[in-house]
Amino acid sequence: MKTLMPYEKRWIAKRLKIYSIKYAEIYNEVYDHMVSACEHKRQSGDNRPILSLFQEAMDQDIGSHKGIAWMTEEREALLKEHLLTALKQEFKSYFDSAKILWACAAYVAYFTAMQSLQLDLRWHLIVLAGVLALPFCYLLVVGTKNGYFRTITHKRKTSLVNTLMIRLTQPAALGFYAGFFSIPQLLTLFTSDSETGTQLTKGFVHFLGHPGMSVLITVALIYVASFVKIVNTDYRRLIAHV
């Protein structure tokens, strides 16, 4: 029974490049479909050249550029909705259950440490910025440890799940920087010189005071805990198929 020659499979992989498939998840599925379809046609006695077999399967089954664009768009939207909903549900669950106590306990421990060290109120901001960066760092650690980020480091197709997870970490951190301070202003807080930082920064931090900063840090802690949960459940499950 005739089947595809190795060079024909390589040709299919090369030919798929013109369709500019961005993500590994979609590429793997389309590539397997194309090879399976061409193999099946060849085994059924269709002796046309690979170009003809490929084009027929691509146009009829996948829908060419338009079909791939649609597939990418809907997959992106579905996954985004799924991950966002999971994150929101997890975030909300802290307020609906006794889990909030964990966040409060973490904050109390942090606050006690801050008081015993007698640090300036502005150090809260630095801690807050650090806490907001934690999801991103955790995702990188988990992804790198398990080789999930290989799609970025090995010039392969990037993973849609990885891309979406990185995007999910951004709103909180960006919102913080854009909403409160710019990065250069934050950096000035690391110096001991009391004259550093803008008047607006200082004014705002003092306006918030300990209660305001407490709320912000508690919310940030809950966000981190929710994100970690998603990374350890949904993310691990979804990325297993890349």
Partner: protein, 122 residues
């Protein structure tokens, strides 16, 4: 003339198929433990005598939607050096099949009544 008729028939089938695609996928996966994308298209074609063709990217968006809804589970295997994604029914999917099949049966029954498609003995 024949080609034109055949084209119209294929177009109509495709439109009718669109609404029942999820039920077809669920039923196929109920009958088979796990299947991959191309296998599903071939099975649909085979069972319908070549009449139903899952064309222009209709299959994968439907599979992805069912997966996102939690009705399907996925697993991957390395087949001949390439990654193959298999779809199977989740626990929720298994109970959904019965419901969808019931809905389809009722719909077909009513459609037969409305369109008077039942064979009559004259």
């Amino acid at each position: 003339m024949y080609i034109e008729k055949l084209y119209i028939c294929t177009m109509s089938s495709a439109k009718l198929l669109k609404g029942t695609l999820q039920t077809i996928i669920l039923k196929l996966l109920d009958d088979h433990e796990k299947m991959y994308g191309y296998e599903i298209t071939q099975k649909v074609k085979e069972l319908s005598g070549g009449e139903f063709k899952l064309t222009e990217g209709a299959l994968y968006p439907a599979l992805h939607k069912l997966e996102a809804d939690g009705l399907l589970e996925t697993s991957t295997e390395l087949v001949d050096g390439r990654i193959r994604k298999y779809y199977s029914l989740s626990r929720e999917g298994k109970s959904e099949v019965k419901e969808k099949m019931g809905e389809a049966a009722t719909f077909i029954e009513k459609l037969q009544l409305v369109l008077n498609l039942k064979p009559t003995v004259s």
